[in-house]
Symmetry: C2
Subunit: 407 residues, 2 copies
């Protein structure tokens, strides 16, 4: 008798009908003889509705209050699913974040899990119960309710799997798995059979959005293999795991893209120690994530520095950077919001000559100008005009023969 | 600086607008310099909507799951009210039943409070926070979420007041206080300035419905004075308390009525020991509340027994009673569903000759037939046809000069 941890996301439980469909799926898994722990998200748009409710009261909801408010969404789903399973004659019990032992720090709205105390879940399993855990939430040592922020329910599932060591940690979502590229852009993209944590992380942070990078990171640290598949079909899905695959393989696995990209450029930055720190520390303090940073070769003791941020952060970034630029007498600070990035992802790319050249040739062949380039251990990323991202993704997908992938 | 416990019911917080209106009221109380603990119900019809959601999943929701589901309603109100107060620059913090230390037994859907541990609430008060407590909910020693059943939020407020000993326990509702009779039936009914616990209990159980009898009982046991008034007006309301008023006064305080009354009659019950126990024990075991019991004077070793139950319990009652009646060879068992009761309530009525006679004269004068009579320490109750209840209430209200009450 194996233990399985399953997670169903918001669209999988988007209505009462879908909750009962999930109950059928969980019941089927149970009838195979396995013990089941299910993690659920809030139903469909519930979280957005609760946020909207709070905004009718105040433009700046208190984070502590907001977390308790939002935590009710997952409580509703978890209790309904437990009821639906009991209706199917399967003993089931819902557990809140508190009851499931999801302990966090007290950084409300984006708490990090510090510990999972799985005693209660294990007790319920040993009593023959299917355990339904409200995802996305936890509690501090002071019994404060917290939420985990983006990717929260995935993170709950992986953290529980790290504590419970199930045979499988299954993430059910609205897609068939991790694709070689976004199928909306590349019609002949195909789901991968497996992918390494590191590659997945690159795909996720580059925009694959099937699983939040934070949950993938946690899975990597605790070596929790994850199986991603669709709630709505019975496709084979994608297995995300460590193992020997990184060593024995050396090929492009997928093309990721991201359209929420803006570039900020600071002209004529003096080449002197400490400038980079002065430039980027205020952004870090303001919680602004800087992605790609490129510094051109300087001349006459100056160089141009460009970096990318999310479009929503451009105004704040300009404000901070202009202040700093003035103090060290740099030149103009400009922003370009019409950009996107496209990445070729695969283990060992950086150590293998030819991949970068092939990437640039493919884009060039499609008549696409490259605005910025950055390479990492397992990826080559090019910033292009936003209008060209679709064609760029298709060109690279084709250049690396991904439509013929073995998965 | 005094401490005040305030409770706002479902209609008082029936919409976001009303929650913000309550925030204004609480803020005004705070600005008088008092410390405030607020207990809130779920917004308007939220509880009914959650029950309906559960019924879409199963006709018989598991009580434990239902309690966690329903508890979310009060969490939503409490967090929104805390946010609204912070928006008004008043530090406020919401507490769940767990956080507020509302400990209960594990009788889900109708848990009883076993203990209130007010440490967290006191800490928050000492930090200058207004404390908002989610009503209607508690937790067991095993950290299970429970709900308190009918009258739950009133009970939360009184239990907190019993632990915190505030200057006032204020129940805000949609009426101006406790009336001499239901104003929908008796247009010149007036709110009482004060009423004893015992009288209030009689008014509540006889249908006044402003506060649940369970909360009044708890207030009586712990001698917590309660002030009932309207959220929507600034009337003076009614004070419910113990004190000397029962001894020094000896008059009719109000007329209560109740229309959900059915009478079951068992003919020719043999006069032998143990019959009453045999008749009523199965009903108690089935959770059926029997209200008035009348046994006529018997002849030839038999008597007729009549008693009242709620209309919804008639079918089950007939089934149980007919089984027992057969075993001891009683006669026919019949039910009459078209009844109501009307009660004259006031401390010391039973010991004061004349009140009963005046009651019967008033009903007789109005041409109303009395079907059953029962008297208690502080009330005289007559069962009448349901069609006559309105006129009976008006006749008694007038007979005891209640429109001229000093309140």
């Amino acid at each position: 008798m194996a233990l399985r941890v399953q997670k169903y996301g918001g669209s999988s439980v988007g209505s009462v009908e879908r909750v009962t469909a999930v109950a059928d799926r969980v019941a089927a898994a149970r009838e195979q003889g396995d013990d089941i722990v299910v993690v659920v998200s809030a139903m469909g748009s519930t979280t957005d509705e609760l946020i909207s409710l709070s905004r009718q009261v105040t433009p700046n909801p208190d984070p502590r209050e907001l977390d308790t408010l939002l935590s009710t969404g997952e409580l509703v789903t978890s209790t309904l699913l437990a009821m639906a399973l009991r209706e199917r004659n399967h003993p089931a019990v819902s557990l809140s974040g508190l009851q499931a032992g999801i302990r966090t720090d007290s950084d409300f709205t984006r708490a990090r899990i510090t510990e999972v105390e799985p005693h209660r879940a294990l007790d319920e399993i040993s009593r023959g119960n299917i355990v339904i855990v409200a995802g996305f939430q936890g509690t501090t040592d002071a019994m404060e309710t917290t939420t985990l922020g983006r990717g929260g329910s995935d993170t709950t599932a992986v953290a529980l799997a790290a504590a419970l060591r199930p045979e499988a940690c299954e993430i059910f979502t609205d897609v068939d798995g991790i694709y070689t590229a976004d199928p909306r852009l590349v019609p002949n993209a195909r789901p991968l059979v497996d992918i390494s944590y590191e590659e997945m992380l690159e795909m996720a942070s580059e925009g694959a959005r099937v699983m939040h990078h934070r949950a993938v990171e946690l899975a990597w640290v605790y070596d929790v293999p994850i199986h991603v598949s669709s709630t709505f079909t019975y496709g084979r899905g994608t297995r995300i795991h460590g193992g020997p695959l990184m060593e024995i393989r050396n090929k492009v696995r997928g093309i990721a893209h991201e359209t929420d990209v803006a570039r900020v450029t600071v002209r004529r930055v003096p080449d002197q120690p400490g400038i980079a720190a002065d430039l980027f520390s205020p952004l870090a303090d303001a919680g602004i994530s800087v992605d790609i940073i490129v510094q051109n070769v300087g001349e006459d003791g100056h160089s141009d520095v460009s970096f990318t941020v999310a479009n929503g952060d451009v105004e704040a970034t300009l404000e901070h950077v202009r202040t700093v630029a003035t103090t060290f007498k740099a030149g103009e600070v400009t922003a370009d919001r019409q950009l996107a990035k496209v990445s070729v992802v695969g283990a060992g790319l950086q150590n293998s000559p030819g991949y970068a050249a092939r990437t640039f040739q493919a884009l060039s062949g499609a008549g696409i100008n490259i605005e910025m380039i950055t390479t990492a251990e397992i990826s080559i990323t090019c910033v292009v005009r936003e209008s060209a991202v679709e064609e760029a993704t298709r060109a690279l997908h084709s250049a690396f023969d991904l439509e013929e992938t073995d998965g």
